[in-house]
Amino acid sequence: MRWSGDGRLRQGIASMSSMSTDLQIDVSEQQGSVPVTLLRLDGPLDASTHTALESKVAELVEQGTRNLILDLSRVSYMGSAGFFAIQTIIKLLRSDAESGHGGAVEEVSHVKLLAPSDEVMKVIRRLGVEDYLDIRTDLGAAVASF
């Protein structure tokens, strides 16, 4: 392989930990039989943006969030990194439920996925994980399901 344009390529090396602003995360509170936090995502959920989502959810859990809806209807792209972020969030809220019950396994899902875009559903289907996720199409029903 022959490389051209030597020099320019070394400019602007970005840190792995820097966060992209491409993914917009809007947080709001919903009230069902229990408080529910709604996160609306807008933009790509890839290896450059997933940490922003994970950090936001960790911050919310720290502040007391126990039930979460991820609105994925405006996610323009999702790769495996995005899927892992969702998996991480599910684990985060599940483990919190366990600690509140003396270590007993809590089977109730605390994370619902709302109206995933076609791009998100493609990845979910290809990974064969539909049955492991709580996917809802309607916000009101999703809030009421907690």
Binding site: I13, A14, M16, D46, Y77, A81, Q87, R126, L127
Partner: protein
């Protein structure tokens, strides 16, 4: 031989979006249908993410992405100067395991394999890798370019 569409760019997570946009534009110009373009976008994103994260360990490095046709298929060539790595040798994840118990490794490679028709890998003579992703489905009247 020069390919009709070529992008040289620093291998960083922040550049993933640019790489995806480049490949989508090239695939569209070469006549790939929209749904297939989404598949190529996903495969390229996963492959380049692997180069950035595993190949270069997040330190950055050279990346070249080229798009061309091979017969009636789209071909994307991803070249790097990272240590030799053939993603086809990565073990597939156990999709029968519970979501929470699945290992992270291999999921990106699985998505690549499910999104394109053929994956080829070679170690370049000067070192580094060239991964080729083949996606069938170009319109029949589109001839090879360049």
């Amino acid at each position: 031989m020069e390919k009709p569409f070529s992008l040289e760019i620093e291998a960083t997570l922040e550049n993933l979006k640019r790489v995806r946009e480049f490949v989508k534009d090239a695939a569209a110009a070469l006549g790939l249908p929209a749904q297939a373009i989404g598949d190529v976008e996903l495969a390229v994103d996963e492959a380049v993410t692997n180069v950035v994260v595993h190949g270069y360990g997040g330190e950055g490095g050279r990346l070249r992405v080229e798009v061309d046709t091979e017969d009636a298929a789209l071909a994307v060539y991803i070249s790097d100067e990272a240590p030799p790595y053939d993603p086809r040798q990565t073990a597939a994840p156990d999709l029968s395991a519970p979501l929470e118990d699945r290992p992270i490794g291999g999921v990106g490679v699985l998505l690549i394999q499910k999104s394109v028709d053929e994956v080829r890998h070679r170690v370049n003579m000067q070192g580094g890798n060239q991964l080729t992703l083949i996606k069938k489905g170009l319109a029949r009247d589109v001839e090879g370019v360049g």
